[in-house]
């Protein structure tokens, strides 16, 4: 029983924090609430006995990506009134399309997960899931794993190329 109470508490906090991400007027608060959401998700993973996934969730999302977010927010140091929202009207078609894709994705995921949960619940897992994850990742899902790595490398190179544009000016400043 106490475990399921924890589940619900984490769900509620995660959803509440996610809502606050959107509703906060201050971007730093938004980022802080997003961190809270990530941590709650990690807690939910932990309660599902996925210790490895929980740790990775904290290390990658809460610990690395969100620090970058905060870094950028602080670097720009936007105050409440200075936040300029882009004009979404010209992008209307894309917005609709993306929302559709999002809902299809969520629906499909829910469908698959719920079907699996009906088959085996609670799922039978070995006491230590880390070797299992390692084995599946490097055998069955090796190709997707490598492709995702390549995608990430491409993204990094792209970001570096975009950032390079105004580097010469910066150099003359610092030296």
């Amino acid at each position: 029983m106490p475990v399921s109470i924890l589940y619900y508490a984490l769900f509620v906090i995660a959803l509440g924090a996610a809502l606050m991400v959107v509703l906060s007027r201050n971007t730093v608060y938004s980022a802080a609430f997003l961190i809270l959401t990530m941590l709650c998700l990690a807690g939910i993973f932990l309660l599902m006995h996925q210790e490895f996934v929980a740790a990775i969730q904290v290390i990658v999302y809460a610990g690395a990506i969100m620090v970058l977010f905060l870094f950028v927010i602080m670097l720009l140091n936007l105050r409440e009134r200075e936040i300029l929202l882009p004009d979404f009207r010209s992008l209307r078609i894309w917005v609709v399309l993306l929302v559709l894709v999002f809902f299809v994705q969520v629906g499909a995921t829910c469908f698959i997960v719920l079907r699996q949960m009906r088959d085996v619940y609670p799922p039978e897992l070995p006491p230590d899931t880390i070797p299992l994850i390692a084995k599946t990742l490097l055998t069955k899902y090796l190709l997707p794993f490598e492709l995702v790595s390549v995608l990430l490398v491409i993204a990094i190179i792209g970001a570096a190329m975009i950032a390079r544009h105004d580097e010469p000016a910066e150099h003359s400043d610092s030296s």
Partner: protein, 382 residues
Amino acid sequence: MPLRNYPNWGLLVMLELFLISAIKIAFVVGVALGAMPFVVLFERKLLGWIQVRPGPNRVGPWGLLQCIVDGIKLFFKEEIIPDQADKPLYLLAPALVVIPAFLVLAIIPFGPTVHVLGRDINMSVTDLNIGILFFFAIASLGVYGIVIAGWSSNNKYSLLGAMRSSAQMLSYEISLGLSVVGVLLLAGTFDLRTIAEQQAGGFWHWYIFQQPLGFVLFLAAGFAETNRLPFDLPEAETELTGGYHTEYSSMKFAMFFISEYINIMTMSAIVTTLYLGGWTAPIEHGLLPPWLAGPLWFGAKVFVLIFFFILIRGTWPRLRYDQLMAFGWKIVLPLALANIILTACLVALDSPWWVFCLAGLAVIFVIDRIVTMLRRSTLRAA
């Protein structure tokens, strides 16, 4: 550790688990908090001797009470909250620094499994099967306290310190994580207790001898992660008047101070567990019962590392910001990757331990030569 068993356990077992955990937590936190003032005093004394001055020697014999007096002073100091500060986050930040520092203490195994009243009790608050990953997860959260403190203070020095620290800790976290993979490849587990047990039976079993390169890299990244000299750019008193905690006074400042020293202790403890055999004795002896010898050896090794931390602080200059980034991304990170490949190959070839040792030392030597040569050539060019 086995969270999954909770629902099946009876109330008594729960109570027993709760009691044992409470005692362990009290012990670990007590030791850490109790040792912290003496680490501070020791640091000030040692720095004094390095700089040819006596260090604190006014309060109590040999200045022993100095840290207690300092603590009392911090308690009674006026608390000032800047007018333009973002109050909720400003008040939250010290807690965000202290909590991760203490959380990591939970996974450190400081002694073997002992039998007390017919029970097997592990000498650590908890043993996680993701042990070292938990450390990285919590360490990666430690930066938030600093970043939020710096931002919410509404002070340019604080903000600069916070930005330096977020960039620095992000950069070195990657190296920290990668440099430990060598040990994980050898150990085949994330569990810190198992890693320590594998190094039992004499100091030649310690992973430092199989992973000299990994040890050096981990230590360097660890220094950066704990914001210690030569990587103390987030504080940098001479440049930033204290950096991210400039605007904090009284006990809030003390919390930053405490967490810095707790971080040094936990980092030393993690290095001890990973590379220096944890609580195991360098040479097997039966002089003391294991429940006493284990924590004593562990404490001694941690003390040596803390000594090293202080020695570095007393003798090394602070890196410049670009040097810090260049060192992290161009030296530590590639070497950590090289160490992984090297270790993986040697593990696959099933090499004896001295091959690991020689290979690691050879890489260190070659890199040292290359860096020295490059530095000489740039000096000559300048």
